[in-house]
Subunit: 133 residues, 6 copies
């Protein structure tokens, strides 16, 4: 199995309004370093998993609407606990949809799986991995 | 599959008294940066894999008895080659037991797997990954 | 010249309400990885610059009131542009005051200088360095 | 499942002569940081996956013929697009062959799998993972 | 003294045709991770050293003409040993010129100094630091 | 001012037998990642600060006698508190002596200063910087 993994980053504000989260119930924020890995069993004719430039571009377009935002104020997150784990899946869904729709080229539709990792500090990170289709 | 991974570290002394280990047969030591990843298929009601604070706490309690110790002098390691790989499994067993006993909350018992990674230098690391139960 | 440098981290929300900051005028947030370096010309009798444990403790106490906060809502930052550079100086002032008041031990008062570095993403960081007092 | 992962690095020149690669069609180059992970289900009698020293030695011997080379000029790469993904598989094949032939000791032949990761910048990396045999 | 440091990267080919360089006399290449730090004694009215976005933009424009190039074939490097140290100074000169000409804003002309660091592998890096003017 | 910085690492055991050090009074150990930076005002005729290969070699020879050792048992450290700060200076003295004696070539004698940094964990490091002569 081959993979290619690319990186971007966003700075966001949010709160986690459930007693479970203790001090993180407050409005606070995070820098998320976002790594997205694309997997496939065989390389394409150009000996790649996906075009790294296209992968960076898809990632950039996916995270841009979240950059410098207060997630509590975005309609798609109304009533949602926007944990790091949740955001991994949210970004996964958007990247997988872009792959299915051809944003990574015709062969990008044939990926075996995608993994999204968000590092929130030097001590903690989360990930979601699943099939594209 | 979702994961959350947290980090701690310990500084220990030990020797590896088998000719296989060459110069590492001497009493020497290591800083181990310890990363523990918790995996589950679905998020909990709070949209988490486990509470990151509880995970950091379980990890801290697990590695504290080893911190600033000479592993050769600890009864549980008598006659044991305390390689990095062995210590990954040792910490895995302790964290998995804590999870089964509820230290990560009721839902922490439902983890799919745990992975423990110990980085011993900038050039070498080891890991153990297995089911919790 | 000797130094010892220690690390902590905070997750905060804030806005930068000046057109100069473009999209960062929005309420957003950051994880700041905070490194504080202490410098002195000669080591103490114990062959240290400062006690690393005490240094980590002073740093932890300094940044804790900011952790999981919206800086816009804290009285000490009313009307202030809380840029990364500004926060370096704010933390520097608090750590230097703690050093002068003995929180790093009697010999902690004899430090030559202190440097505070805040990393806001994998691509950008700021620092402030100055004499202790 | 246990793993041990070791690191080396090479600096090479190459071109990727296919319009797919845009500016990377030019003669350019890369530093590849190479991480090789060895996996097995059970540890050996010495409580290791493989001897880390032998693993570092096998990796060093594998990448040395590529170090400070123009890959376009090497006979084994004639007409080949030497992408990062391709080079992962090339190094995987060489390391797996060395393991099968005993370069990691008698027990090195019993590895479950090997993973090779090449980091080409701080933002992008590729990997190949497969069985040894 | 305050600083802000930003990062970019380039992948280049070159040779170092002097027996001093041993195997690096061959055509080979490198990924250079480029960090540029800007220093000033006082912050601007917006509490910054320089606009981080402008700093990233100046750095990007400076290194772009080198990206995916064979330095041996560029006219400005004819007969020059393009060592990592030399390239630090080359990038320093370009960034300092941009600062003097106002690319970092009116206040960017008042910087105390600039430092350029190029990391060529995980084990080696070079830097050049000097006044802007 | 130019610099070149190179990296090596050692794994050692030691104790810090003074009540000041709390739990670190025990026999324990550390991985020290050792970075040595060489500084000079002007580059040599080959456009370098020092030969990176020679610098890595000097560093390797300097730290090798400490590798896999119990520092408490080495005659040169009898009665010495071998703190991270102390070891920075110890390695600095050895590297500076090698430079003065020509191990970095004739031009290595003209260095302006050297800085030695030892990272003991992901959270703490120490350094010593001074003139060569």
């Amino acid at each position: 199995m081959f993979s290619v993994e690319v990186r971007d980053r966003i700075m966001i504000a949010h709160s986690l309004p459930d007693p479970f989260f203790g001090p993180a119930q407050n409005m606070h924020g995070a820098t998320f370093v976002v790594d997205v890995a694309f997997f496939r069993e065989q390389l394409t004719n150009q000996n790649v998993v996906v075009d790294i430039g296209a992968a960076l571009d898809v990632l950039s377009k996916t995270v841009k609407p979240l950059a410098y935002q207060n997630l509590d104020a975005l309609p798609q997150f109304k009533g949602v606990l926007t944990t790091t784990e949740f955001l991994c899946k949210y970004i996964f869904d958007a990247v997988a949809k872009a792959a299915r729709e051809g944003a990574l080229g015709a062969e990008g539709k044939a990926l075996a799986k995608i993994r999204v990792t968000l590092s929130e500090t030097d001590l903690a990170r989360a990930s979601y991995e699943g099939p594209v289709g």
